[in-house]
């Protein structure tokens, strides 16, 4: 097996899963079976990573590079996807808004898009992967056709993503116009060498590119869609949007920024710092008195992406490690939080269970679920012994090392504001039960959902107390991105000029 083929094994497995699921749908529509096959496909892809790892890093056509960085985040994406699948089954099952099978197909397509994003080292593949992800997400978001909110969220996402894509493409075109290449590595050389930092085409292009990326990451000022879509989309999908799509895009941004060597360009750093600061402050402020759990989580994810940007700004090995760990923590935490919402909700109902009032006294009616939710919220707030704590410390570590005073100040202020609304939810969870508002009737948590949440909590606490494995892994994989003179040559075997 050639190294390139071996390295792309996870992707091939994923694609095969797509085809298999599609064929299965054609043969027999069986929700449980399709969900199981999907989960198996994802897990097989995950297993394939182990097989692919020794071959990395290797360039698979000039468009893709499979390296440790790719595989680390791919693993993250796959784990998150599996969790979403497990959470989705019970969420979808038993409602009349079938069939459910295309849901899994779309999920796999989206995952493939996200995975491709992680491996992209060129604008064409980047853009296509991004759009594959987006288009599949639209289908997922609007999947409960019976819900006005879901449809609305779908059209909003479609149109706004379209606008942002147009900006993104225009920006890419400008960069291409300026440099004549779309390969990140080549751009990196040209950006610092041939062109001085006065070239307005490139900067304008970068800013427009950032508009597109910022939209996907829901960074301020491109953030407004996020709460609406989070609220409207079905809860597992919301978790997926919040985690998989963001991890994919962020990893891409990180790779792009490192490869193009943006760290020597104060203009670029300034733009990103501004966006990061705005995201941390405004995201948290917007969540402050919000009464809808999904919207709170949406705003909080805006802020969290701001925090990771601090790690990106810091750069260096520690910055990348910090970002990697942070995204891992973010994935576990956010999937968990939305998972709790998901197991309390059903596709068939008009809304998800997302009013804050609905969570009143959950601790006394469903202690395990509420405890898990509390753990996730504490992790979001960055409080030990959770992954969120270590993650925040890591990000701050990277920021302190590079003296990012203003972003760090925003981080601290934002975190304090953030505490307030996380605590508000916790307070509601623990407050005495009010008889007037019973929880939506639901027999119990499905075993898949319960298992998923349990595993997530164990990960959350376990890796919060003993984060060494993840850090070590990140150190060995993603951090390889940084000394790019060594690894990137492989990406330039076939120059696109």
């Amino acid at each position: 097996m050639s190294p390139a083929l071996r390295a792309s094994l996870p992707f091939l497995v994923l694609s095969a899963a797509i085809v298999v699921v599609m064929l299965l749908i054609a043969v027999r529509r069986d929700h449980r079976m399709i969900a199981t096959v999907t989960a198996i496909g994802l897990l097989a892809s995950l297993a394939a990573i182990i097989a692919a790892a020794p071959a990395a890093p290797v360039a698979v056509t000039p468009m893709f590079l499979v390296d440790g960085f790719t595989l680390f985040f791919l693993a993250l994406v796959l784990v998150a996807s599996v969790a979403v699948v497990l959470l989705s089954h019970a969420y979808l099952d038993g409602t009349h808004d079938g069939p459910y099978d295309e849901y899994y197909l779309l999920l796999l397509l989206a995952t493939l898009g996200a995975g491709a994003l992680l491996a992209s080292v060129q604008f064409a593949s980047f853009f296509l992967a991004l759009e594959t992800l987006s288009i599949a997400l639209i289908g997922l978001i609007a999947y409960p056709r019976g819900r006005a909110g879901a449809i609305e969220a779908g059209i909003k996402y479609l149109l706004l993503a379209g606008v942002s894509s147009a900006f993104l493409l225009f920006g890419i075109a400008l960069i291409y116009l300026d440099f004549g290449t779309m390969s990140f590595a080549a751009l990196g050389r040209l950006w610092s060498a041939a062109h001085g930092p006065t070239d307005i085409y490139a900067y304008t292009g970068f800013a427009m590119l950032l508009t597109g990326i910022g939209f996907k990451l829901s960074l301020v000022p491109f953030h407004m869609w996020a709460p609406d879509i989070y609220e409207g989309a079905p809860a597992p999908v919301t978790g997926y949007v919040a985690v998989v799509s963001k991890i994919g895009v962020f990893a891409l941004l990180l790779r792009y920024f490192v490869l193009m060597d943006g760290y020597h360009d104060p203009s670029l750093l300034r733009v990103i710092a501004l966006v990061a600061i705005l995201s941390m402050l405004i995201g948290n402020l917007l969540a402050l008195l919000q009464d809808n759990v999904k919207r709170i989580l949406a705003y909080s994810s805006i802020a969290h992406l701001g925090y990771v940007l601090v790690a990106l700004l810091a750069g260096g090995v520690i910055g990348i490690e910090a970002a990697s760990y942070y995204l891992a923590a973010y994935a576990v935490t956010t999937i968990g939080a939305f998972g709790v919402v998901a197991v309390l909700s059903q596709q068939g109902s008009l809304h998800d269970t997302d009013r804050l009032d609905a969570y009143r006294g959950l601790m006394w009616t469903r202690p395990w679920l509420a405890s898990a939710f509390t753990a996730f919220l504490l992790s979001l707030a960055g409080i030990p012994p959770t992954m969120g704590f270590i993650a925040k410390v890591y990000v701050m570590t990277s920021g302190v090392g590079t003296l990012l005073i203003w972003p760090l100040a925003a981080l601290v202020i934002g975190s304090v504001i953030g505490l307030y609304y996380y605590l508000r939810i916790i307070v509601v969870l623990f407050s005495p039960v009010r008889d007037a508002e019973p929880l939506p009737p639901k027999a119990g948590v499905s075993w898949a959902g319960g298992l998923t949440l349990a595993v997530l909590v164990v990960l959350l606490i376990g890796l919060g107390v003993y984060p060494t494995p993840v850090i070590a892994l990140a150190h060995e994989t993603t951090a390889g991105l940084m000394p790019h003179q060594k690894t990137i040559h492989t990406a330039e075997i076939l120059p696109t000029r």
Binding site: L378, I383, V393, T397, V412, V416, Y420, R424, T468
Partner: protein, 503 residues
Amino acid sequence: MMLVWLILIPLLGGLLAWPAARLRAAAARWVSLIAMALDLLVLLLVWLRHAGPIEITGGGRWIAMFDAPWIPQLGISLRLGLDGLSLLLILLTIGLGFVSVVISWTEIGERVGAFHFNLLWTIAGTIGVFLALDLFLFFFAWEIMLVPMYFLIALWGHENRIYAAIKFFLFTQGSGLLMLLAILALVFVHQRTTGTLTFDYFRLLGTRMSPSTEMWIMLGFFIAFIVKLPAVPFHTWLPDAHTEAPTAGSVILAGIMLKTGAYGLLRFVVPLFPLAAIRFAPIAMLLGVIGIIYGALLAFGQNDLKRLVAYSSVSHLGFVLLGVFAWNALALQGAVMQMLAHGVSTGALFIMVGALQERLHTRDMRLMGGLWANMPKLSAIGMFFAIASLGLPGLGNFIGEFLILIGTFRVYPAFAVVGTLGVIAAAAYALILVQRAFHGPPRDAVAAPDLRARHLAVMAALTVAIVYLGVYPQPVFDMASGGLANLQTATHGVLKLAEGDPR
């Protein structure tokens, strides 16, 4: 390894107490008591069986030490150490832990298991704070101790508990983040100069940095600790938190948690940043003095009994701040003594208020008065501790305050003089407390049973403690001197350079 057990026992006890309450509520209480007893046993074993001090280069002598890797990539390890200072504070922690369990016996009737879980975890976190010698571990423990405390206030507190709990959490967490930034900055500066990334306390001692850097990093630590202490102007969370917390929460909060702030100042701020601390000392001491006066004035003005006691804590801990930054043997010993005595006396006052609230369902002194007629024991004990808190000679608080002031007088006489004036204000608020609650004409509505045996036993123990501290404090000084010597060893060389420093 014994040191790890010191932290683990309450943690495990908490985990056990929660399900135990499903069997019987009393089971959780007994589990907590046993956990505390075991912890005390372990502490005594560590203390009595240590085979001579462990010498740390540049870090003094230690009774016991533990070290294991944790996150080696970041130079973080599980380093725990016990010296005289931490031993005393852990002793106080365990003692007040006992007290908290006992006084909650009847007060807490709901969700008993969860209550004891949170109680024990807070205690574990606090012990961790007193033991940690790795800055990251310290911060970890620092945070761990806050979360259960938040729940204690938010779930078992009084009317306005949510507000108070959130306020408490925001203040301490916000300042904690500042401290984290400062820790990281220190670690980075150290890495830049020596090339090793480490959070080890001993290695970070004596890190070289420019004066302005040192000052900034020191301020990060300083603010976190004086928020916790609390010192003016960061004290405003305290009255709310104290007022709304359940009695055991108030006891732990006032008796132990506030001490972590002082401990941080002692263990970290001055030894790690001696020059900056000395330069900053006048401002810090000014804050301390302001706290003494301001807290006393506010205490005098309160109608809520718990708020009064809370503000008196602000005043008392102003003395500690003063003592720490005077940084001579007298003032430091005074600060330690003040911490212990404040823990005992204020804890007792909170128990007294809690007992009153349990009986009268109010803390408003306007609705009290003349309680002596109905509850002579409670009133007498309340008065005793009020008087202890005003610093009557012969009781622990006096020793603390006097030593702090006499130590401060050598360095900054003006602060000592103003601080001494605070003693007058202390008399004002302590006596107005006695007057408004216990004296005056008895009210008809006030008819409630006096203290019962369980409370009396606790109060008797605390009384003995405070009298002991006042009459025969030398063993405490001997114990503390080892720890304080460690601290002063760390700053010794640097402070010699600071010219004309009379310490």
